[in-house]
Amino acid sequence: MRTLKLKKGNLDTFLAKISELGELWGPRKKGEVYIYDRIDDLRDLVKEPVITFLPIKKLFLPPRFQMLHYDGKIYEENINQFEQRIVYGVPPCEIHSLLIFDKLFGLKYKDPYYFKRREKTIIIALSCTPSSACLCKSARTHVIEEGFDLAITDLNDFYLVWVGTSKGDDLIRAAPELFDKNVTQEDIQKFIKWREVRDGKFKKSIDFVTMPDLMDLNYNSHIWKEFAEKCLSCGACSMVCPTCNCYDVIDEIELGDNSVNRERFWDSCMFKEYSMVAGGHNFREAKAERLKLWYTHKLKSFTDAYKKYSCVGCGRCVITCPVDINILSVVEALLTGKVDKDSLLTEKGK
């Protein structure tokens, strides 16, 4: 992979230049949290790495969107209207979540809503240093080799820029004068040092490869019932998880012309109706069963398209769950057979 250097002061110039090639998106502060949003004013863009409230999946599968329109005679789709986008500031863990989605939404039947947006989106990844809830090193998602067009590592004196794809190369070509091709031995040493510093900052770790066995062994464990007693079934874990893909579909009838919009929106296996079939039979009536499915996917195995565990270690469930049911507290319970009743098992991180 080609590597270049970008001077610190040149990032803004570069972003301004490439925003002529497509809509610029990236993290922006909104109230207390960061969100991925369209950036009209570069001063709104958060250039440092952050963990946004909702993950990058919202750009590829919005929380709610129209799949089909029925005008009374025929169905119509509108999947050819997406604007070209350039997203800045996607952390490595979320690049991995997109690689999982590429497999899931591409297996056998290609999901056009996902892939059309994917095709129209250029991704600039941004290496980060971990916050207290981050588990990407454990999940092996702190390093990226594919799934981005450009990747930027902030080495204090300058940015190291990795060119991942031909589209990424096009961005460089928009302002080649800003880049220095000469990566010196000294620069390499700076990168190695940065990596060591980052790797030393992780506060928590999970031995992910040992978890599938523990999920099997704990299948009938009381821990699931104990977690279920705390769980509010709010589904927040699914909304913030970068690898939760589930959705529901509903037909909305337009008043007046009786045309129909078939809408797709985020769903969660934590909701009671999730596994209910016509006639009222529910295959996962108990909260404990629903929690178990969620953690089977995150810790053991996630669908045919992606046999491995799907947790990418972003830490959002740790930050978000109001009753501290998260990847850390569940792993702790799987290891010890005990659920921490006092809730605040894990320190809150931002």
């Binding site: 799949m67 089909l68 029925y70 009374g72 025929i74 169905y75 789709e77 999947i79 899931l104 939404f105 297996l107 056998k108 039947y109 290609k110 999901d111 056009p112 892939f115 059309k116 299948y219 893909n245 589930c246 959705y247 529901d248 579909v249 509903i250 037909d251 009838i253 009786n258 129909v260 078939r262 769903d267 296996c269 999730y274 596994s275 209910m276 079939v277 016509a278 006639g279 039979h281 295959f283 996962r284 069963e289 499915l293 089977t296 996917h297 053991k300 195995s301 996630f302 669908t303 045919d304 398209a305 046999k307």
Partner: protein
């Protein structure tokens, strides 16, 4: 990029009552070429789309050996089936598919078939029965055991009664209760018919089961006692589905999707994945 969520226009050709709450639907793609070339496997399903109501999966009850028309037997249980029941012959609906793995027809070649149906389980298994009768040389002996609550609850009753006289299939029908006194076949649970089948060669038999959840426990037990290998005991299952193509997540059981890896599973799958039945 083709859109796999796009329903194809089809027409309800025939619709009539099978039982009080179950209707038979004959459906045909409006495009003639599509209707005639459409291929599928017994055990697969289609998604029905009714604009304004939504989509739901239904097992195909017809056989690919009789192309042109697709048949379904559908019980009124929810919003979509209510809307479907209101439609009339010649009305248009959207369909897409076929989805799911279906029965492993190629692997079953040369084997005896031991088909066990409870109640509505006839919907997917009728496809396999008709397929095996149309391709009789592909299979060894064919046994069909069907149990329903009452004669009135038996789906395709006349069709199955006619099979009793045929020499190339052994068809045993039973009902839990017969108030009419006119039922010409057996009374009792479907498992009570097992000992009427002689000389089962377990190694050379595929058992195919579909029925209400309660039935599986008893039937599977009996089949294991007969020494039919676990991977030759097949069953077809039901789950909530929104897409049918492995994306929406609703039919997930551990790390598999019923719509892609099922709905036909083996008894080994059931033992392996605890949430299957």
């Amino acid at each position: 990029m083709t859109n796999p969520y796009f329903p194809e226009p089809a027409r309800i050709v025939r619709k009539y009552e099978l039982t009080k709450d179950v209707r038979f639907f004959q459906v045909r793609f409006i495009d003639t070429e599509r209707a005639l070339s459409f291929d599928y496997k017994p055990g697969q399903f289609m998604m029905f789309s009714i604009p304004g109501t939504g989509e739901a999966p239904f097992s195909i009850s017809s056989t690919p050996s009789r192309p042109g028309l697709l048949e379904f037997c559908i019980r009124k249980t929810g919003r979509l089936t209510e809307a479907l029941f209101r439609l009339k012959e010649n009305d248009e609906i959207g369909i897409r598919g076929p989805y799911g793995n279906g029965f492993p027809i190629d692997a079953m070649n040369g084997f005896d078939l031991f088909i066990i149906i409870g109640g509505l389980g006839a919907a997917p298994l009728r496809s396999l029965i008709l397929y095996s009768l149309d391709n009789r040389e592909q299979f060894g002996r064919v046994h069909l055991l069907y149990g329903a609550k009452t004669p009135a609850d038996m789906l395709f009753r006349e069709e199955f009664l006619e099979l009793i006289d045929r020499e190339d299939v052994e068809c045993l029908l039973t009902v839990d209760k017969d108030n009419s006194g006119k039922w010409p076949c057996y009374t009792g649970l479907v498992t009570s018919l097992f000992n009427r089948i002689e000389d089962i060669k377990p190694e050379n038999t595929y058992a195919c089961v579909c029925g209400p959840p309660i039935m599986y426990k008893f039937v599977l037990n009996e089949l294991v006692k007969l020494n039919i290998p676990k991977h030759q005991i097949l069953m077809t299952l039901e789950r909530r589905m929104k897409c049918g193509i492995g994306k929406c997540g609703h039919c997930a059981i551990e790390d598999i999707y019923t719509c892609m890896d099922g709905p036909v599973f083996t008894y080994w799958d059931v033992l392996h994945m605890k949430e299957l039945i």
